[in-house]
Every structure is written in structure tokens, then in C-alpha cells.
Amino acid sequence: MKPAPFTYYRPTSLEDAAQRLRDGADDGALILAGGQSLVPMMALRVAYATELIDLNALDGLDRPRVEGDSLVIPTLTRHATFHDARAAPAPLGDLLACVAAHIAHYPIRQRGTFGGSLSHADPSSEWCLVTATLDGTVCLLSADGPREVAARDWSDGPMSTTRDPDEILTEVRLPLPEASASWGFYEFNRRAGDFALGMALCVIDLQDDRITAARIGIGGIEDHPRRLPEAEAALIGRAFDAAAMAAAAEAAMRAVDPMEDATTSAEYRRDLTGTVITRALEAARLRTLALADPA
């Protein structure tokens, strides 16, 4: 339960880290961010590094900020930063605070990072779900310079991304939802703090009591979190009621290609897809009512 030996490098800047990674990536050098997934995988000897390039001592990479109409989340931003809903403008700050509370456990959230979660790309990653649902942008840096990847192009299969081995994830940009948008999140797992068996995030815009725009994302169901256009289409132009929510859930259950594992069948996950989407939509609908009638 001890990691295999490796060398340790503490870069002086992101550019220095990118150059070091360019020189060592082919041999097995890896970036170390929060270490809350990589370090246990190294201890279990399912991940190996010849060298760890530790970003943690770099300044200025852990505070989210608003730029234009986006929230910029630097790579070392800890999950726990979003415990405080004021870390982002409303309603995104409340959404991120709600989601953050579901990531692993409190001490893990003190060190685990947003950029690390995106890079690790677990099918049950809450931050991958948020980035996919909001159509975020992943910003990378290599010795050749920066590159941007749209959220929908980020996954390359389970726990695999389109990041090249010599690229560092530097920040993620999330478009700010409309101030009037309502949102809902629901995650199901068997024990507190476990990986999600299924989760859904939705962001809904209403005009004159009709749904004008809808984002529905799922995680933990397929090999990576993604938006479900079939479920979103089932909502457009309708009143935000039980029938619309049922139509979206039905469309989602038809559209997904669920994972199967030793304890959870694909059919269970298909069924769960409908449940988590219905519950996320119901949470959004209750927020809509609260916005319409603050009293």
C-alpha cells in the first residue's frame, strides 16, 4: 500500500511545469494536483509515475473569478472552495455549492481540485457533469502553447480524455447561467460519500410559464457525463409540469447507453436515469415557484 518510487519536481510556473512534462511525459511523468484520486491509485499500484510534477506550490491557481460572462475556475481550485455559495454569482454559486456537498467527503474536498477531477474523468465526477451540462471549456497548456477543448469533446471513453500526455489542464470556463434560470441536481448512491450510481443536473429557462431553454446532463450512468438532447427537446415549449418532466425522463431512458458492473445492471441504471432526472427537474420546478413567489 505504498506508491512505487518516483522523483518529485516542484515547478516555478505553469510554463516550467509544461516544459518539464514535455521532457518527461513519454517516460511516465504525471501532474500532481490535489492527489485525492492519483495518490490512492499509486498506493494501490494501479497508477505509476516516474516523476510527479506538483502544481500545489504555484500561486494564484485556486480562486475562481468572473471574466465576461464566464466563471473561470483555475485548476487548483479546491472542491471546498464551493462550500461557500458566494464563490460564484447566483444562481451558479448555489448550484456549485449544492453539487460540491456530494463530492466524496469533507477532508477530501479540502484538497481535491476542480482541474484534477476533470483530468481524472471518472464517469461519476460531479465536476465533469457540471462542465458538460453548462457547455464549459477546458483550457490546456503544453510547451507549444495553450489549447482549448469544448466540454462535449473532452471525454475519450471512461476515465480517459482528449488531453495529450504533455498537456496541463490550467483552468475551466463555465458560462454563467441566466440570473432567472432555475436549476436542480439529484445524486443517488448507496452510502454517503460514495461514487454516484446516477445523477442529473438540469438548468431551465422559463418565459410566460413555458420552457424556452433546457439543459439536462447525466453522470454515473454512461462512461462519461453528458447532455441528453432528446430529454431537453421533450421539455421545450411546454409548461413546467409533471407531464413534461415525465416526457423528459422517458426520452432520457430511451436515449442512454448505461454501464453495467458487478453490483448494478444496465437496466437498473436505465431506470435510475429516469428517477434522477425527474428528481432534479422537480428541484428546479420548486426553485421556479420560489422565484415567482418569494414569500
Binding site: P5, G35, P40, H105, R111
Partner: protein, 165 residues
Amino acid sequence: MSDKTTITLTVNGVPRTIACVPRKTLADALREDCRLTGTHVGCEHGVCGACTVMVNGAPVRSCLMFAVQAEGAEVRTVEGLAPEGGLSVLQQAFIDHHALQCGFCTPGFLMLITGALQKDPDMSDEELTEVLSSNLCRCTGYRNIVRAALAAAPAIRASVRETAA
């Protein structure tokens, strides 16, 4: 590749200079190099929480940090909890509420609760109870740990706010 690196950190207010290979976890460095064996090593992959210590004011798993990453850090371990000649309010509450049996998980729980309330003194009793799900205890069934944490929480919150003011 396994050359030792010299690092300086502060443990319970005392500056320490130790030499570690990069793969040595902070948990092992505290136990073997600082001779502070109150921090327990259970699962060594971040699941059980027995090795929880505070690093720069936040409770973290010391098996998921390498010692070389603690360069310049302020670390607090269970040995740093009790005031001279006594016990902390939380330690006394663990005794009063029978919150330990074998005691292996206890240092981790003490640091988890102390650290969480120090970082977020405004957290509710419900949130504190949720935080307790971070660590594993195989003896008590958690009920008495919850009782001890909730009994000590008001005094810890008051003390944190007093220090901050």
C-alpha cells in the same frame, strides 16, 4: 530516484526538519521521522480517515499527501490537541459519551471534528453529523461519536470565534 529531500515543517507549533524520499506519505513521516505515533495509518488509500491531521488549518488525509508537499506547512496532530496537563473539550466529550472502544480511529475523528469546526465554525449540527461520515469506526456504531461531537461543538465554535475576533 529515491534520494531524500530535506523539508522543514511545523508540527504542533514546533519546527521540524526531516529528510524523506518523495514517496513517503505525510502520515508515515509524522510517525517515523517525527516520532508522533498518535496519527494512525489504517487503509493507506484515503478511505478510513484514521490518519486525519490538520494541514494549514484544514483537516486532510495525511496518507494522501506526500511529506515533501508539507514543506513550510503548519501541521497539527492529535498530540497537539490537549492543553498542558488536561484534555481538550472534545477529548473529554469522547470519554463522557463513550465514543471510543478500541481507540484506533479516535485520533482521526478528533482531528476531523476539530478541523471541520475550526474551518467552518458556522456549520450546523446536521452538517457536522454528515462530516462524521468521512471516517470509519468499526466498534461504536457511530452513535456515541455523534453524541460526543454535538456535545463538544458549542464550546469549540465559541473558542474558534473568540480566537478569530
